[in-house]
């Protein structure tokens, strides 16, 4: 009797995630296709766009740098929403979402830093300066890594969930700092020219490819995110199954010795 109720509890626990896995299975290939298409189109358009008279060929880095930078911040935003999901609605998938998003966000942030400094070398003559924008992105990277370390430090996902969610929420204070750092401190890095209240100031021939590739990378993120979430759900399920199996094996080996 107790055995069946054990299984039932696990089943109810995973009922929702099971539906999610089905959904993810259906969505991931489509999303992957769309993101591949968008990225290809965006980058192709980007490479055929006029070169900047000042920056020359290096301006093409923009089509990956800027999407990476946007995504670096957006991913934390997604995690913030998930954190609310964990803390307020206690949705089991919300925690999975944070766990899956953190490494992806860290990679995007690292790529933004990398492409930025590759771009910075010809433009500013140095790989790295401690300007407000750059430093705040660097801090964002540290926050991502700290979050990953925190979630990995707990041996049980349930225990990590709440801690991670709280950290994400507190950390989201940093997002506006990154976004507006260029306006608050005068820096080397250029101020926002696309996402601003009074409309974009960038030339449309550059803007369109940028937007398309940004949309492509955003799709790419959701593809990766869904896939990673699916893996995480599987991982947890396998862990639970392994525990049950271990317990049963253990019983058999005891050979009916009375407890």
């Amino acid at each position: 009797m107790t055995e069946t109720s054990a299984q039932r509890s696990i089943v109810t626990e995973l009922a929702n995630p099971t539906r999610f896995v089905g959904l993810a299975n259906a969505l991931v290939p489509w999303l992957a296709g769309i993101s591949a298409l968008l990225i290809a189109v965006g980058l192709w358009m980007g490479f055929n766009a006029p070169e900047d008279y000042q920056q020359g060929i290096t301006v093409r880095i923009m089509y990956i740098h800027v999407p990476f930078a946007w995504l670096a911040m957006m991913v934390w935003g997604v995690m913030t929403i998930s954190a609310l999901g964990t803390l307020v609605w206690r949705h089991p998938l919300a925690d999975v979402s944070i766990r899956a998003a953190a490494p992806i966000g860290a990679v995007f942030t690292a790529l933004a830093l990398f492409t930025g400094s590759v771009w910075g070398k010809p433009m500013w003559g140095t790989w790295w300066v401690w300007d407000a924008r750059l430093t705040s992105v660097f801090v964002l990277l540290i926050m991502y890594l700290g979050l990953i370390a925190l979630t990995r430090a707990f041996d049980e996902p349930q225990k990590a969930a709440r801690a991670a969610a709280i950290l994400v929420l507190i950390g989201s204070i940093n997002l506006p700092i990154i976004k507006f750092s260029v306006d608050w401190w005068n820096t080397l890095h250029q101020p926002a020219s696309v996402i601003r209240l009074d409309g974009p100031t960038i030339h449309p021939s550059l803007l369109w490819p940028l937007l398309i590739s940004a949309a492509g990378f955003t799709c790419l993120f959701f593809t990766l995110h869904l896939a990673a979430m699916r893996t995480e759900v599987w991982r947890r399920r396998i862990m639970a199954m392994r525990k049950i199996a271990a317990r049963q094996a253990d019983h058999r080996s005891k050979g009916g010795k009375p407890e």
Binding site: T2, E3, S5, A6, S9, E156, Q158, M239, E259
Partner: protein, 201 residues
């Protein structure tokens, strides 16, 4: 006063420890939880105290008085003593007395009850294992709480002190209060309900 638990269940690190535990305690009822090591006695007490979530079921507490809930109306005595080694016994108890609100008994009287008045000004860290446990038991007395949740209160106590604890429990129950005690050792009390937990397969 009434404490009704219905089909409680708890898991630890993803494994069900117990399920479908129900009991109901009225004024003056005591419940003894027994079972082998790892059966979930401490876990059950922690669930009742609200330190761990129950996987299902319900726990209802009604008190005639102004207690806002079970957590508010209970003394929880865990395996650990919740005392600081560096502070003296009196300082430790004074702190908990202030923390728990209106006092019920003076610290000296409580220490007297457990027979350790002479240690009042020693640092807690200087006491022997059994003496420490007895100080924790004195802590139950300095503030009044109608519900006691005790996790092996007599572990490490000598025979005399075990008697004292039994006596104390008896008095508590006779006053119409409730106690839930997890223990391996017989307490020498009669008329208590008993809940036997089994090792989960």
């Amino acid at each position: 006063m009434q404490l009704i638990a219905e089909s409680l269940a708890a898991e630890r690190s993803g494994e069900l420890v117990f399920s479908d535990i129900s009991f109901s305690l009225d004024k003056g009822d005591g419940l003894i939880i027994t079972g082998p090591n790892g059966a979930g006695k401490s876990t059950l007490l922690r669930v009742i105290a609200g330190l761990l979530p129950s996987l299902g079921g319900s726990l209802e507490f009604e008190s005639g008085d102004s207690w806002t809930g079970l957590a508010d109306a209970c003394h929880y005595l865990g395996h650990k003593n919740a005392m600081k080694d560096a502070l003296s016994v009196r300082e430790n108890l004074t702190f908990w007395q202030a923390f728990y609100g209106p006092p019920h008994m003076t610290i000296d009287d409580a220490l007297n009850y457990v027979g350790l008045q002479s240690t009042a000004d020693l640092p807690f860290g200087y006491l022997s294992t059994g003496q420490r446990r007895r100080i924790s038991i004195a802590k139950l007395l300095i503030n009044y709480r109608p519900v006691w949740l005790l996790d092996e209160p007599t572990a490490g106590l000598d025979a005399d002190s075990e008697q004292v604890v039994s006596h104390l429990l008896r008095e508590h129950l006779d006053d119409g209060d409730i106690a839930i005690v997890a223990t391996h050792l017989p307490l020498g009390l009669e008329g208590l309900k008993e809940l036997k937990l089994e090792l989960h397969p």
